[in-house]
Symmetry: C2
Subunit: 225 residues, 2 copies
DNA sequence: GTTTTTTCTTACCCACGGGTAAGATATCAG
DNA sequence: CTGATATCTTACCCGTGGGTAAGAAAAAAC
């Protein structure tokens, strides 16, 4: 069990001094909050817990956030921001549909190992107000649409075997999203390893559709940007 | 399998009379509780909510369960029970590793559309006591091990292309588990349709590993038992 | 009918946690 | 140095929800 100063530290330092630096302090709150939300869930994390880790008291938090939910929503925003970045990058990155899907899986899997990224898929949307909920759902829907379009593109250009894009997208999204459930930052598997393995496995597929002459090469795919 | 009668209710009928029938009343509590847990999450579901749906009052629930957590744990137990059943069936069902994996995906996906099954993967383990948590984790670990063994079996018998069984199992498990997140009992896609599509997609794989002469046949795989 | 047992209700306790009020103290601009 | 402002604390409010006490009312046992 992670102790106070061991694995997740450095953020209480932001509040060591009373110097006026709202930006970094706000950031510190979000980082520790995200950490705790992932560890104990939003509902079981009290603002006292957050404050305690930062060596301050609960009301101090209200200088940086209007309420608890705003902290949660900000975590979602930072996470979806990361995802949106990579989506734009990939869309611009010319290539076959299959290549785009592979690039997506690789980058997305990596995001799922970052705190804010994990928050997006791991935290319970039900804790959000209806407005914030709608906002987050818009982001998510966008992601799903993009992935599906990559697949359709791949079917069109022949790089992907004909299939139902909706189901394929659900499969891939599920496989990658689930990473944020079992991934442990302190675990054995490094993030990039997971990402590249997933990119390979999911694009290559599991079944041997046609009997190969020899053993299929277990080539290491170069990690995409 | 267990078909939920109407959309949601019908369970309050169990408490319409004061006749002594603890078994069905207990069942009714579990069904409505599971329903609410999936709808609003465990944390946001109060025992008053559960009681209200059953047209009784909160303390009445304590005649059938020691506390709130016992209700939750029982949902987990019923769900894992369903999964264990299908696992045993498949292990006995002779066939190649790939066939076992396909059968697993099909049956498992179906379970993920049933309330108690969904509870197993959708609900937050953090709400369980450490004892119950350990029990549930044991079940889940077992499932993962079984799936992985099916894959290894398939690689050994040549029905599955060489790959890392751990990553493959994580991918498949993630894709199928994620169903319980987005599946809506009232939605368009029927459960069996999802299950068979997933079984096909995930075993067939997405990428075309070798250029086929013609269009790949989109054969309908017969729904496994 | 009478007694016993189960079932369920009304009324209550209390710990927890989000949020606020009001004031103390440090930082900064001048 | 001085006043203004941002920062943070102590003390408090109160709604919510899990859980209990004690007893009423219905069902079964006799």
């Amino acid at each position: 069990m992670p102790k106070d100063g061991a694995a997740a530290p450095s953020h209480w330092k932001a509040f060591a001094s009373r110097r006026r630096d709202p930006a970094t302090k706000r950031e510190a709150v979000l980082q520790t909050a995200a950490h705790l939300f992932l560890e104990k869930s939003y509902g079981r994390t009290s603002l006292n817990d957050v404050a305690e880790r930062l060596n301050i008291t609960k009301p101090a938090l209200y200088h940086y956030f209007r309420n608890k939910e705003e902290i949660l929503l900000e975590c979602y925003r930072l996470g979806t921001g990361l995802i949106e970045e990579i989506l734009n990058e990939i869309a611009a990155h010319c290539g076959t549909g299959l290549e785009k899907v592979a690039a997506f899986i690789y980058s997305y899997a990596n995001v799922m190992t970052v705190n804010f990224g994990r928050c997006v898929m791991r935290l319970d949307e039900g804790d959000l107000s209806s407005q914030a909920f709608a906002e987050v759902r818009t982001y998510k829907r966008k992601i799903d649409r993009r992935l599906r379009s990559f697949i359709e593109e791949g079917i069109a250009d022949g790089s992907i075997a004909p299939c139902d894009p909706k189901i394929a997208a659900f499969s891939i999204a599920g496989a990658v999203n689930w990473i944020c459930i079992w991934y442990e930052p302190e675990g054995e598997l490094p993030a990039e390893e997971i990402a590249s393995q997933f990119a390979r496995t999911l694009t290559q597929g599991l079944a041997r559709t046609t009997p190969n002459s020899g053993e299929r090469e277990v080539s290491r795919q170069e990690p995409l940007p």
